[in-house]
């Protein structure tokens, strides 16, 4: 059985779709945690395009960028979740529309 | 190409069968070992020396009523045990049991597949195993289960760090991520087969023997597999058990099968990382190839002797059978044809088995940790020690290696 190649544009399109879905999650969801996960989804989509470019350009740099994105995502997740915990502790809500004022 | 697929399928079936049966009998073996530690015969009724006990258990568990509590999150409740099970079984697919062998003219490895990131793969799968526990605890819609799930998953996450760090140290020495190459660097390669000895194993290999690393790995492994002394989920009486308190029958059992599978994984990882995989303790020309035959022969002789003087009535029939079987196996091990591919797997199984025996031994010996002690132990002791060990290793490798 011969191996059928996949156009690079498909990978990028997939990445675009995932990204847009992430944005949709961000825009339309009300649960803070879901919104946060949508951000992670966007990051993943970007990573995919990074790796794809890396493949196309036959360079390893894209991988490194993806790696850094992961690291940053890890730190961001730690801090973000801590913030979510604090917000929940203070306001007893996870609805993002209720968290619309600086003051408590 | 087609032969590749066929061989892979065969290997898969074989490995799966071996895995499952070893899972079954690991339970039996554990009960026996603990029984003997506590000076009692242990399973004895079902079959000779309770050899058929595992099947009885399986039948019992399958035929028990499988009840699903109300108000559980059904899909996750059902998915959790299988996630745990799958994640524990997958990692066996990258573990090499022996070198390349010739079967009917086809050359293949005694390994399902070799990834050049095998170690990372195992780590990844192990880390995915957390989901089974967390989801089980959460989806049971029961606060004890929830808290237990939190406890266990936190424990697994925490102990993953020292585990990874201690894995990194021997990798620095062996300078590869592929499990097979890992073993070859420890003397498993064809070239060094003649001279390979215990000194080539990472646990004793220079420039920095990884004994400390090995111990930390074992301890973290205990915690990763929720084993004694870190088996908080089993603490029915003080903590109302753990994440699986709402599970019953086969689902309940699958968690334990996952646990034992993880045990096997950890043991084989320890074997591969530190104990030189299938490499014999000393070169074959000094008679290391005779060791299995001797062992089995000895076992056979002992069995026959006890058959002559039986402690129980049934032993008069069974023990001679065992003795003959053992002697047959000993003779089998002496055949040069089979030695090529049987010896390595023997050594591998022997090492893994000894590590597993350590698991049981510890279980029979040590009491249980308190939770805060458990967490403090990893964060305040294991983690720093592992970091220091890693730094030392890296420094020495860069300096001397």
């Amino acid at each position: 059985m011969t191996d059928v190649p996949v156009p690079i544009s498909w990978f990028l399109t997939l990445s675009a779709i995932l990204f847009v879905l992430g944005v949709a999650g961000f825009v339309f969801r009300r649960s803070v945690i879901t919104v946060f996960m949508s951000i992670e989804l966007m990051l993943n989509a970007v990573n995919l395009s990074f790796v794809t470019f890396s493949y196309q350009l036959k360079q390893v740099n894209g991988h490194l960028f993806a790696f850094f994105v992961m690291v940053v995502a890890a730190a961001e997740a730690a801090v973000g979740l801590a913030i979510i915990l604090t917000v929940f502790k203070n306001r007893e809500t996870l609805n993002i529309d209720d968290v619309d004022s600086m003051k408590n | 190409m087609d032969s590749f697929i066929v061989i892979t399928l065969i290997k898969t079936v074989v490995v799966f069968a071996v895995m499952m049966s070893s899972l079954l009998y690991l339970q039996w073996a554990e009960r026996k070992v603990i029984a003997h530690i506590q000076v009692r015969p242990g399973p004895y009724r079902v079959g000779p020396h309770g050899l058929f006990q595992p099947f009885a258990d399986v039948i019992k568990l399958i035929t028990k009523e499988d009840l699903i509590p109300p108000y559980v999150n059904k899909p996750l409740y059902l998915a959790a045990p299988f996630i745990a099970m799958t994640m524990s079984l997958i990692s066996i697919s990258v573990i090499p049991f022996g070198p390349a062998i010739q079967v009917a003219g086809y050359s293949t490895w005694m390994q399902l597949t070799d990834l050049n990131i095998g170690v990372l793969f195992v780590l990844a799968v192990a880390s995915m195993g957390v989901y089974g526990i967390a989801l089980a605890g959460w989806s049971s819609n029961n606060k004890y289960a929830l808290i237990g799930g939190l406890r266990s998953s936190a424990q697994m996450i925490s102990y993953e760090l020292p585990l990874s760090l201690t894995i990194a140290a021997p990798l620095l020495i062996s300078n590869t991520l592929s499990l097979r190459e890992l073993v070859e660097r420890q003397g498993g390669s064809v070239a060094s087969a003649a001279t390979a000895s215990i000194l080539d194993w990472n646990i004793l290999h220079g420039p920095f023997p990884q004994i400390l690393s090995f111990l930390i790995f074992l301890i973290a492994g205990f915690a990763e597999t929720n084993r004694v002394p870190f088996d908080l989920p089993e603490a029915e009486n003080e903590l109302v058990a753990g994440f699986h308190v709402e599970y019953s029958s086969m689902k309940f059992a699958s968690f334990f099968m996952a646990e034992y599978a993880n045990m096997i994984t950890v043991s084989s990882m320890a074997t591969l990382l530190f104990l030189g995989g299938w490499v014999a303790p000393w070169p074959a020309r000094y008679g290391s190839s005779l060791v299995p035959a001797v062992i089995f022969a000895g076992a056979g002789v002992v069995a026959l002797y006890h058959g002559m003087h039986p402690g129980h009535r049934r032993d008069r029939r069974t023990l001679p059978v065992f003795g003959v079987a053992f002697l047959g196996i000993a003779a089998f091990f002496l055949l040069p044809v089979v030695q090529v591919w049987l010896l390595p797997s023997f050594w591998f199984c022997a090492k893994t088995g000894s590590v597993l025996f350590t698991f049981m031994w510890v279980r029979g010996t040590l009491p249980r940790f308190r939770y805060d002690q458990l967490m403090g132990f990893t964060w305040k002791f294991l983690f720093p020690v592992a970091v220091v060990n890693l730094l030392l290793t890296g420094f020495l490798v860069a300096w001397l290696g």
């Binding site: 944005v23 825009v27 529309d97 619309d100 | -």
Partner: protein, 612 residues
């Protein structure tokens, strides 16, 4: 020879007392303040002896202050004979008054503050005197103004005191304005403010220019030396402590105008018009103030108007070209007027704050020393020979006669009035029977000793210090033939004044009241100082204040400036309230806006990238 040491010693005193004085004991404050002044006095003497027979100008250059374009102004001091006279007066009288202040201020609050300001004043006054160019002089000029403001308002918890301080400061501003204009004009014409340069070029300059400069300088002098029409601040300045009145508002600061005019004699000699103006103003001031002095009941007010009047004399002298005579009178006046004030202070101190002559009387026996010293001062100012006032005043009058006879006659009349009001004060205070209710007690020796010294000086100063001869090398000689007749007339005028005073206030006091009653209108007019303050208030102050309030504040400030600022802010706020609709605080809408922006960005990039 370290001229800078002279002013810097008082400055050091000021700094020490000003910073640490609050924690110092009174003794320490005294030693610091008086020590610094005494030291600088000593240094002045040393300098004088070191300079020996000083014919020209000795100058010291310290550093270049301003260099811009043609203007190159250095901070440098200079000493010539005129300076020496001023230095002696300032430091000597200053030291005496410092000592006197120990006793006078003993029971006052803000002790260290008083002495610190006094030292600061000494510093600025010495800078003014030592300055060798107009700008440094102006520094001292402004500085003494500041100190005078600070010291007039020394009792800052009393409204009239602070008002008086503000009045002095504001009125002086007018004069300083003239001074600065004069300096600009000098820079414009001479390209320098240095005395030497200016005076070297002055003869060659067109007379109009010199006249303008002279008049402007005169305006400054009028402000500082309380001449018409800017004299109004000086009487009110008596709100300050009496030593301040003596030192600043009688002896030293107010004479700065005279000093400056004399210093600029080169300019004036080439601008006769300006000189005439000075002479007229001086004479007018002298006469005018004397008339007011006739009817004052506050002892310090009397001497204040007397000061104005005497300053007018000095201006008359300077204006008549008798610069040396002006300076001569300056010196003697410093002696006897300081003495008068200090004596008045002693009286006030004795009566613990009483200043109204009508509540005094018969103090001759209660405070004999004060009485004696004040009589000395009185005879000196009355111009009786052979006391100091006689010499200087007659020198001026003679010069005035040279200039214009009518000036002489008016001056003589003024001299008579001077004698009258001074002795009126003496008789009211020390003769007759005591009309007050307070217990009178003699002042402590620390106050009496300066009084005694000043008394000696005012008696003998005339023939002790031959100022005109000393200053002869500097100023152009004024050929004034000795004219015994003129001298005799002026002396007679003084005697008449004294006699009249004795008649009206010593012998039969009732006469004064009937006299005042008979010419009621005139008396009221004089008593109320010709309503000058009221006139100024009506003509200058009120329009200014009103105009400021209506036009500048309401109109320009509130309307224009604030209007503009607030208008801008309001526009911004309106715009912001539009944009605020986006800032709903709702994270999802923010995200939507970000999305919007990114879509725009992608489109833009696509277009830029040429993707159609």
């Amino acid at each position: 020879m370290q001229l800078w040491l002279i002013p810097l010693l008082p400055l050091a005193g000021f700094l020490i007392n000003g910073v640490f004085g609050r924690r110092f004991s009174k003794g320490l404050v005294n030693s610091v303040a008086i020590g610094s002044v005494a030291l600088s006095f000593a240094w002045v003497l040393k300098t004088i002896f070191a300079l020996g027979a000083l014919a020209g100008v000795y100058r010291e250059h310290y550093f270049t202050w301003i260099r811009s374009g043609v203007v190159n102004i250095g901070c440098d001091f200079g000493v010539d004979r005129l300076t020496i006279v001023m230095l002696l007066v300032v430091t000597g009288v200053g030291a005496l008054i410092h000592i006197y202040s120990i006793g006078y201020m003993a029971h006052e609050g803000g002790y260290y503050r008083f002495f610190a300001f006094l030292n600061l004043f000494m510093f600025f006054m010495l800078v003014l005197v030592l300055a060798s160019n107009y700008l440094v002089m102006f520094v001292g000029w402004e500085g003494v103004g500041l100190c005078s403001y600070l010291l007039i308002g020394f009792y800052f918890d009393k409204k009239f005191a602070t008002d008086a301080g503000n009045k002095a400061f504001i009125v002086n501003r007018i004069g300083d304005f003239g001074f600065s204009l004069a300096m600009f004009y000098m820079v414009k014409n001479f390209g320098s403010l240095d005395f030497a340069t200016v005076f070297k070029q002055a003869p060659g300059a067109p007379e109009a220019t010199l006249t303008v400069i002279g008049l402007l300088l005169m305006l400054g002098a009028c402000g500082k030396s309380a001449q018409l029409p800017l004299y109004v601040w000086l009487p009110d300045a008596m709100a300050g402590p009496t030593p301040v009145s003596a030192l600043i508002h009688a002896a030293t600061m107010v004479t700065a105008g005279v000093y400056m005019t004399a210093r600029s004699w080169t300019i004036y000699t080439h601008a006769p018009a300006a000189m005439n103006a000075i002479a007229v103003i001086g004479l007018a001031t002298a006469f005018f103030a004397a008339t007011i002095g006739l009817a004052q009941n506050d002892i310090k007010k009397v001497f204040a108007y007397s000061t104005v009047s005497q300053l007018g004399y000095m201006f008359l002298g300077v204006g008549c070209g008798a610069f040396s005579a002006g300076i001569y009178h300056l010196v003697t006046h410093a002696f006897f007027k300081a003495l008068l004030f200090l004596g008045a202070g002693s009286v006030i101190h004795a009566l613990s704050g009483e200043q109204d002559l009508r509540n005094m009387g018969g103090l001759r026996k209660k405070i004999p020393w004060t009485y004696a010293t004040m009589v000395c001062a009185a005879v000196a100012i009355a111009g009786l020979p052979p006391f100091s006032g006689f010499f200087s005043k007659d020198a001026i009058l003679v010069a005035a006669y040279q200039h214009a006879p009518w000036m002489y006659w008016l001056g003589t009349l003024t001299a008579g009035m001077t004698a009258f009001y001074v002795f009126r004060a003496i008789f009211l205070a020390f003769f007759g029977e005591y009309r007050g209710d307070k217990h009178a007690h003699e002042s402590p020796p620390v106050m009496l000793i300066p009084l005694a010294i000043l008394a000696l000086l005012s008696l003998a100063g005339g023939f002790l210090f031959k100022v005109p001869q000393f200053l002869a090398p500097i100023f152009p000689a004024l050929e004034a033939p000795e004219n015994p007749a003129l001298v005799a007339i002026s002396v007679v005028a003084g005697v008449l004044g004294i006699a009249l005073a004795w008649l009206m206030y010593g012998a039969k006091p009732a006469l004064a009241d009937s006299f005042a009653a008979s010419m009621n209108g005139l008396y009221t007019l004089v008593y109320n100082k010709y309503f000058v303050d009221e006139i100024y208030g009506a003509t200058v102050v009120d329009p200014l204040v009103g105009g400021s309030r209506v036009v500048l504040w309401k109109g320009v400030d509130a309307g224009l400036i604030d209007g503009t600022a607030n208008g801008v802010a309001a526009r911004a706020r309106n715009l912001g309230s539009l944009l605020r609709l986006m800032q709903s605080g709702n994270i999802r809408s923010y995200a939507t806006w970000v999305l919007f922006g990114s879509v725009l960005l992608i489109v833009a990039m696509g277009i830029a990238g040429g993707l159609r």
